[in-house]
Amino acid sequence: MLSRRTFIKAGLLGGIALGAGGVWYGATRESAPAGHLPGSTRAMFAAITPVILAGSLDEGNGPVERVVDGVERAVAGLSAAAQSELGELFGLLGFYPARLLLTGIGDWRLATRAEIEAFLDGWRLHRIALMQGAYAALHDLVLGAWYAQPESWETIGYPGPPEVK
């Protein structure tokens, strides 16, 4: 695991990299059909979803896939400007050198829960607003995609909308 000091340093550099994300993005963008996320972005969400939803999501890949599908739909409904900003963030998180620098994670599929928690917590309380904003986007997308789904409602006792007729 990264030491706190290394992380802060990486974060600082990362913040600069994120600011210049447009340039990086051009070099790193993977193409995906309209309304879909590139494979590397889906892999990132598949890795962070069980961590963000720990304690709520059952073990197993089924719900994770459905959350990632929900994230994909949510992103497609955002403004063009927000989609473009997220595209830059996803591009960086899908690009090995940038990802390693920003998150300390080499491969999403091999990352441990502790590594992902450390990366999320680091961004959450980061002193660079851009990183905090990026954390907030991941937070809102994953939680929103899960709690939009009826299968999540029973975990919190929400009965769902009443019937109107």
Partner: protein
């Protein structure tokens, strides 16, 4: 039980309603008046203008969804009915803004809370902005007219538990609580006002003024983005529009040109200034988009032994103005206390943290009571609000720096809410802040909240009220618009939405928008027809 869907019924009967995402050819249309935006201001103006016999075209960027489309599901409501999928953010992303974008605008998705403009706000407008005619007495007939039209009155049912808990705690502490009036008729008390009323009980523009205007021959064009006003000398000759794709996100390469004798802007306090900026109209004092206010709102959640079911029942029925009235209006920011409905997506994304900690809070979902403190911005000498600017693609972006007067009030508000929640019997309280782990007693909360750093993106700040950016004022230096809402510097444009307010309202703004729009649309109507304007139905 009654279900009303006048839009669905009227379209079946042949009303002129066009969906701009469908036709593949450019269009040119003409009317007496083109209204941009179908929310509170545009809806009221459409009814008054058409009642006087004027031909009206109503333009809406969002989609037409009506009673039978509303299924009370957040996954559908936010992308369909809200600006930027309910994720519209200020420039630094520190404030999330809930604002409608659909036929009916924010009236389709608001929580039905109806307050007249506070007398203290109007006094400030008269004193600082020269709006001499804006007295409670002079506005009273306009308030009465829209209240009658929209059935605004006392809430007839018992407040839900979520609201009642605020009253219990406040009363214990000697803090007065009032009852909120609501614009509903035969309300089912379901609690889903924010996702579009599934019974047509909420008297939004969707079931009142827009159907009445369409019934008199007005045309509604939805999924059409108003891009630019085109000038010819000192007059506006046309409104250039661009059709939107059905996804509501991407513009299509199909342009519409709308001509009219007069143009009414009612695209909301971000949309209207943005349209003016894109149109590059004269603005010698740089007022377009300036002083945009949000009632920046902070949130506290309390957990109770008994079930609260904050998703069910009228979302807002009680409020407290105690903390608005304690200090001078231009002193440290006062705040209004209210209660929000709790639905899974809105609540889970607002709540800080992730993983086990977040999941533990969510397991208490049905036992959670939340409070909101709406900070009254725009009165304190250092509360300048934000400024609307344009992104490279022409869409608006609000820059709203959260400064010291806001943070000072935010900390006071979090304390006030926590104290009320503990007084109501909360087992624990969470200030919605990234560094708050929750408190189990009032003394612990008092100490803990005082130590929370009040900073952007750490303290959760949200908004559902956007006001200002095209303020009315007696002089050219203070008002982009005149006291009757006409835009200075051109001959034939009026602004009839919340962007004309020179400060925030200090209360949920829908009734202020309705009344000021009714007043100013009536002045315009009589100017255009030479006869007194007819009252609202």
């Amino acid at each position: 039980m009654t279900i009303r869907d006048p839009m669905g019924d009227g379209i079946a009967a042949g009303w002129k309603v066009l969906d701009a995402s469908l036709p593949d050819a450019p269009r040119a249309l003409e009317a007496d008046v083109v209204i941009v935006g179908s929310g509170a201001g545009g809806g009221i103006a459409a009814e008054i203008l058409t009642a006087a016999g004027l031909e009206v075209i109503l333009v809406e960027e969002g989609p037409l969804k009506s009673t039978r489309d509303f299924r009370m599901r957040e996954a559908e409501a936010y992308p369909h009915l809200y600006q930027e999928s309910a994720a519209r953010k200020t420039r630094d992303k520190a404030i999330n803004i809930l604002q409608g974008r659909c036929v009916g605008g924010s009236t389709t998705v608001n929580w039905a809370s109806s307050f007249r403009t506070p007398a203290s706000t109007l006094a400030f407008w008269r004193e600082r902005f020269g709006l001499a005619d804006y007295t409670p007495e002079a506005l009273q007939p306009w308030f009465e007219m829209v209240e009658r039209r929209l059935n605004i009155g006392p809430w007839q049912r018992a407040p839900n538990t979520n609201n009642t808990l605020m009253r219990t705690g406040a009363t214990t502490l000697g803090i007065p609580v009032g009852e909120i009036r609501r614009n509903v008729r035969d309300c089912w008390n379901l609690g889903y006002c924010g996702m579009g009323c599934p019974t047509g009980a909420k008297q939004s523009m969707l079931v009142t003024t827009i159907p009445s205007a369409l019934g008199r021959g007005a045309m509604l064009i939805h999924r059409l983005r108003a891009e630019r006003l085109v000038t010819a000398g000192t007059r506006i000759d046309a409104l250039e529009c661009v059709a939107m794709e059905a996804d509501g996100v991407h513009p299509r390469p199909i342009r519409w040109t709308l001509r009219a004798r007069h143009f009414v802007l009612a695209a909301g306090a971000i949309g209207t200034p943005a349209l003016l900026l894109r149109s590059k109209l004269p603005d010698p004092h740089g007022l377009t988009g300036a002083r945009t206010f949000l009632h920046p709102t902070v949130v506290a959640a309390g957990r109770f032994a008994k079930a609260v079911h904050g998703h069910a029942g009228a979302p807002q029925s009680l409020y407290s103005d105690h903390f608005l009235e304690q200090l001078p209006i231009d002193g440290p920011l006062g705040f209004k206390l209210e209660v929000p409905p709790l639905h899974p997506v809105l609540f889970s994304t607002t709540l800080q943290g992730f993983g086990d900690e977040h999941a533990a809070s969510m397991r208490e979902f049905t036992h959670t009571h939340a409070q909101l403190a709406l900070l009254r911005d725009g009165f304190h000498p250092q509360s300048h609000g934000g400024r609307v600017a344009l992104r490279a693609d022409g869409t608006p972006l609000l820059d709203y720096p959260l400064n010291e007067p806001i943070w000072e009030a935010a900390a006071r508000a979090l304390l006030a809410m926590a104290e009320i929640q503990f007084a109501a019997g909360a087992l624990s309280v969470q200030a919605v802040h990234e560094q708050c782990r929750g408190y189990t007693s009032w003394p612990q909360a008092k100490e803990g909240i005082a130590r929370l750093p009040m900073k952007p993106l750490l303290t959760r700040v949200v908004s559902a009220h956007v006001m200002g950016g095209a303020a009315m004022g007696a002089s050219e230096a203070t008002g982009l618009t005149a006291p009757d809402g006409t835009l200075r510097g051109v001959d034939n444009v009026s602004v009839f939405d919340g962007s004309v307010f020179p400060t925030s309202i200090g209360a949920n703004p829908q009734l202020s928008v309705y009344a000021v729009a009714a007043r100013n649309a009536s002045i315009l109507t009589s100017r255009m027809t030479g006869k007194p304007a007819p009252p609202l139905a």
